[in-house]
């Protein structure tokens, strides 16, 4: 019998998240972010957080909500360009920020979940990102050593999930969610549709339930679009 990972709601799912913890949050921009859990973190008022997330939301949505509340001490991200409050806090020194290349960020999360402590990559060699990092030449080309990332809690968002924690993502809302799911000591998955075991095709599972400790169906999803772009019919 498959294990049951279901919790009632975001409140139950976020139990145990306390001040000073390191969190991973899935999503690219506002696409595929765990909206319900972020709202719960705002409600909990936990602070001094280290958040690992590709972006920091926008000023009034996504992780931007935690930034406005000054709940985040440090961000580990690759791109923060859509958030003025983020840029202000970073330039004023209120917020510690570690900017790392997007591919290195993804691989560092994957490595963290896969038991690989570090790896070499060419990305960032000869730039600020490479400063202080070990350099080795492979195939005649310099590479820098990047270390794995893990988190006390990883919070991801999927399209569908079953009670055993198996997850299926939709379109480009997948992004960082599968790697982060692997790298959390406790991984929370919030899903748009929670189904009984047996209702998802095992061939189609993107994240196997072994990586998920808690799963719940989100109350609602705003799914705000950052750059609505259309063409004439």
């Amino acid at each position: 019998m498959a294990l049951n990972k279901v919790v009632a709601n975001a409140e139950e799912a976020c139990k145990g998240i306390t001040n000073g913890m390191t969190l991973m949050l899935g999503g690219f921009g506002l696409c595929g972010i765990p909206e319900n859990s972020i709202a719960q973190l705002v409600k909990l008022g936990v602070n001094d957080l280290t958040c690992i997330s590709n972006n920091a939301g926008v000023d009034d949505f996504g992780l931007g909500l935690l930034l406005q509340n000054k709940q985040i001490r440090k961000m580990i991200s690759s791109y923060v360009g859509e958030n003025e409050e983020f840029e202000r806090q970073m330039l004023s020194g209120e917020l510690e920020v570690d900017l790392i290349p997007q591919g290195s960020l993804a691989e560092r999360c994957r490595a963290g979940g896969a038991g690989i402590p570090a790896f070499f990559t060419p990305a960032g060699y000869g730039t600020e990102v490479g400063e202080g990092k070990e350099v080795r030449i492979f195939n005649g080309k310099p590479h820098i050593l990047e270390t794995a990332l893990t988190a006390d809690f990883a919070i991801v968002k999927a399209w569908k999930g079953d009670t055993a924690g198996n997850l299926i993502f939709k379109a480009t809302a997948r992004n960082f969610n599968p790697m982060m799911a692997m790298a959390g000591t406790i991984t929370i998955a919030e899903v748009e549709e929670l189904v009984p075991i047996g209702h998802l095709d095992p061939n189609q599972i993107h994240t196997p339930g072994i990586f998920v400790q808690r799963i719940f169906q989100g109350n609602s999803y705003e799914k705000r679009i950052e750059q609505r772009t259309v063409r004439k019919a």
């Binding site: 921009g29 690759s78 791109y79 591919g103 691989e107 960082f176 750059q227 772009t229 063409r231």
Partner: protein, 219 residues
């Protein structure tokens, strides 16, 4: 002199049949509008799609389907979605044949800076550092000078670098430049632009051949 669409149109001529291509934010995105007749290419967006199609018709936008610039997009038949680690495996593993991206500065040895102005602007590098560190063929699409009229084509970059010795070609509103042997080589002039104008707008070492053809933008 070219406008942004003209720059994109010239870069589109570099596309070859069968290429997988990653287009950066800004002018590079426009390249998709000018794919030459008879050429099949597939666009990769590093947030997790191969086979990116045009923007959606109004009313059919899907918030779960965006490009790396966070714009709503569509997926073409034969498209594939994947996670960020796999996306950068494609990039780092050199499965993407051409990368087109914007820049704030490019130097004569192929260095590029496009992610940070210390003390003023920090947007982050996003996927740019991974892309420039691994791509075999990198074309920079940008304006020749900044808003203050200063050259962005330099002996050495003044801003924090995104990558070293990686840019092969630069297409601006004035010219097509190839970077090799520590210099910019003037390959083509934009329509109506003189060699003197290009020399005046270029701060880095520029090699000018006796004859510099004008770009042919006819399809």
């Amino acid at each position: 002199m070219l406008d942004k669409n003209g720059i994109a149109r010239r870069i589109a001529q570099e596309l070859q049949d069968g290429y997988y291509v990653n287009l950066g934010i800004g002018i590079p995105t426009l390249v998709a509008n000018y794919i030459p007749q008879g050429i099949d290419v597939e666009f990769q967006s590093e947030n997790g799609i191969l086979g990116m199609g045009p923007f959606p018709v109004e009313g059919s936008e899907d918030p779960d389907l965006i490009n790396a610039g966070k714009q709503t997009i569509t997926a073409l038949p034969g498209a594939a979605y994947f996670d960020s680690a796999m996306s950068f495996a494609m990039i780092r593993g050199r499965h993407v044949q051409l990368t087109v991206l914007g820049a704030m500065e490019v130097s004569q040895n192929g260095d590029i800076a496009n992610w940070k102005i210390p003390g003023k602007m920090v947007k982050g590098m996003g996927g740019a550092m991974d892309l420039v560190a691994s791509a075999e063929n990198i074309i920079v699409a940008m304006m020749h000078t900044n808003k203050a009229g200063e050259s962005k084509i330099l002996p050495a970059c003044t801003l924090p670098l995104t990558g070293v010795g990686c840019v092969k070609k630069v297409v601006t509103e004035l010219a097509v430049l190839e970077i090799k042997d520590g210099a910019f080589h003037l390959l083509e002039r934009a329509p109506g632009v003189s060699v003197e104008q290009i020399i005046a707008a270029t701060a880095g070492k520029l090699v000018v051949p006796d004859v510099v053809p004008e770009m042919n933008l006819v399809d």
